[in-house]
């Protein structure tokens, strides 16, 4: 059940972010300077942390989404759902660690 709660929460978080993200990207159509100003707030360490969280959410949602798709379409899916959940978590930790190291070092390093 908790994997589902996680999936739902991350889904909503990503969705809300997406709304904002499209709006801010829309600034490129209005004024290039304004866009750069907005983007520069993304480049502050605080926002970097937020970005990292967002990517964590996307990664979990994506991997777990794949698991759900396998549960639905692969014959043995329901049998191995628990193992696959472990797989999702392990994959998530690895990929996320890789991302966080790179992203945070860039974000903090540049300031």
């Amino acid at each position: 059940m908790w994997s589902w709660v996680g999936h739902r929460v991350t889904g909503v978080v990503i969705f809300l972010y997406l709304l904002v993200h499209v709006l801010d990207t829309a600034m490129v159509r209005v004024d290039a300077g304004a866009y750069d100003a907005i983007i520069s707030t993304y480049q502050t360490p605080w926002m970097a942390l937020g970005e990292t969280g967002l990517v964590a959410a996307i990664l979990f949602h994506a991997f777990n989404g794949l698991r759900l798709i396998l549960v639905d379409f692969w014959k043995q899916g329901t049998k191995y759902q628990r193992q696959m959940l472990w797989g999702v978590l392990i994959l998530w930790v690895i990929v996320f660690a890789g991302f966080a190291i790179r992203h945070l070092s860039i974000a903090f390093g540049s300031h």
Binding site: L19, A32, Y42, F73
Partner: protein, 147 residues
């Protein structure tokens, strides 16, 4: 203290447990299918997006107006972002629609929330598409060399 309570169980089925009318067609099935198909495609799109924006080169620090303009100069990236926008929005909207259906108990609340959701979705999709299609590297404030 004793509270008065209505008789609990009627003979047959209490009207309040009656299910609403059956939904026609296979909308829910198609929505379900769409979630899975778009999910698979989104993985590629989003991972590609994240990778090219945050991992390659200077990562987040490299992003700016110029970066975007450079990307959208290529039709591949235009198409990529357009597909991502549509799929993610529809996927997300449908996801949030299920969530609203789950948690909003009253019919009116449901209708309102979904109304807001759909308006927001349409707005964002239209806006996003316009931005991608009508992108102009020489918009006001642009400091790109070609302008």
């Amino acid at each position: 203290m004793s509270v008065s309570i209505p008789a609990p169980r009627s003979q047959r089925i209490d009207p309040k447990y009656k299910r609403g009318p059956k939904s026609r067609g296979s909308f829910e099935m198609l929505a379900w299918l769409f979630m899975r198909l778009s999910g698979v495609v989104l993985i590629i799109l989003i991972f590609g997006h994240l990778f090219s924006n945050l991992m390659v080169g200077e990562g987040i620090s490299g992003i700016g107006f110029g970066f975007v303009a450079g990307k959208w100069a290529s039709p591949l990236w235009q198409f990529w972002d357009l597909a991502m926008l549509w799929l993610a929005m529809l996927h997300g909207t449908n996801g949030v629609r299920t969530i609203i259906n789950d948690y909003a108990e009253k019919h009116a609340t449901r209708a309102w929330l979904k109304g807001i959701l759909y308006v927001a979705t349409i707005f964002i999709i239209v806006l996003g598409s316009l931005v991608i299609f009508t992108f102009d590297p020489c918009v006001t404030g642009s400091t790109l060399p070609q302008c």
